[in-house]
Symmetry: C2
């Protein structure tokens, strides 16, 4: 991914996104407003929340009836049983539970807190009752947006959807890629020679996660209108790979 200056710019005055909004059009307007004429190999990074909102992934908690299992886990974790019901419905399994947080394997394979379901920064006309699920399929969302943007500009863009994850062993959240299109999300450097011509050991770079983290720096963290970031300056010559390739199979994981 060697590169001359890499620039990250938040699209100016990105509007609040509503279910059914055409994200590609909003991005095109945002680029114009920010005086950016996109080029091939630019990367558009979107915060998960705006994609989820455009895709209408809201659930009204008043419509959720918790199962017995959800009620039991909710009591252990000190959480709303309806939220736990949603988390379980979005997950393959519970990896770990502690006060206030359920670490699960999401149905798409992400190991994450609360299946990525969010109650903050959600418009709440009826109080505190709406939750927002992750996009149905973030890699597919990226591919769709890439196709729309590529067609609009006649170029070859990349698109990444990011979210903030906690990690074992280290404090604080960092940006992580939920979806990617048009870029090698995982870059395989196995056997690439080092400076002294010796073969390197196995090295795979989680490029899309590094892009996601870089974009997080620019997005800020209070969702205050900077959910889309334009990145320019990366170069690569490997084929595109989706963010699904960043998921470590459970049987290869030392910490499951």
């Amino acid at each position: 991914m060697a590169s001359a200056p890499v620039t990250l710019t938040a699209l100016a005055d990105f509007p609040l996104v509503e279910p059914g909004d055409d994200l590609a059009s909003l991005i095109i307007d945002g680029l114009r407003r920010t005086d950016i004429v996109p080029r091939s190999r630019d990367v558009i990074v979107l915060a998960q929340k705006v994609v989820s909102k455009a895709e209408g992934r809201y659930v009204d908690l008043r419509d959720v009836t918790p199962s017995a299992e959800a009620r039991k886990l909710a009591e252990e974790a000190g959480k709303d049983a309806r939220m736990v019901e949603l988390i379980l419905a979005e997950s393959r399994e519970v990896v770990k539970l502690r006060a206030g947080v359920l670490i699960v394997e999401h149905r798409l394979g992400y190991v994450m807190a609360n299946a990525g379901i969010d109650q903050s920064n959600i418009d709440h006309p009826d109080g505190n009752e709406r939750a927002l699920l992750l996009p149905e399929d973030p890699d597919a969302s990226c591919a769709r947006l890439k196709a729309q943007l590529d067609a609009a500009f006649g170029i070859d863009l990349a698109v990444v959807i990011n979210d903030s994850f906690g990690r074992p062993w280290r404090q604080g959240v960092t940006g992580v890629a939920l979806g990617a299109a048009g870029i090698p999300a995982l870059l395989n450097l196995i056997g690439a020679p080092d400076l002294f011509g010796r073969s390197m050991r196995v090295t795979e770079i989680a490029v899309a996660d590094e892009i996601a983290a870089a974009a997080s720096l620019v997005m800020g963290q209070t969702d205050a209108g900077k959910p889309v970031v334009h990145l320019r300056g990366l170069q690569w010559d490997a084929p595109a790979r989706p963010a699904a390739d960043l998921l470590r199979p459970k049987q290869q994981d030392m910490f499951r």
Copy 2:
């Protein structure tokens, strides 16, 4: 960390670093060569290897006599017993062992593979016999470099040392901060209001890790002369915190 365009630029033609080299002078020369006049709040990110090399953290494996414990673990992991001896000497405890890799808690608290000890991209006049340890104290190295650079330019810079870490659950390595000075490595957003005025849940952002990951994108991964990156455009109003604040205490860790 809201911010107008963030720019990352690798310093041009950074020389190979030798023990005893004055890194601050090399950085000053590199900035000049790259036509960058640094400003307050710019961040200089250094790859761990150049700091370790400047600090002379080489060990000749021929001088290492493995203990019985090192020999036993080396056999289990299929590694050079002298490397395992070095890893154990740099570590508080072994967290996990598998073929080819020891996950340890480094003496400074990082949970990482092989205590960060590297045999690739090390000049090896005598064959394959030199290993390179992490810097003695990366936060202190950052503080020292910051003081030297601040004095040279009469400004208030930030300095980060990064390295590439593997993670549980996800494939590929990402840039992580080993040391930091002049920046809030961990930014505490507990209670910051969201867009709708509701108080956010506890959120801490691992800002220095996101900076480290962003810089990794620009450094490339074959150590081909881009070990120092200049970052401009971040804003913050929290006090500086060292990278040590990114380490989660063992007793608070769900995955130890």
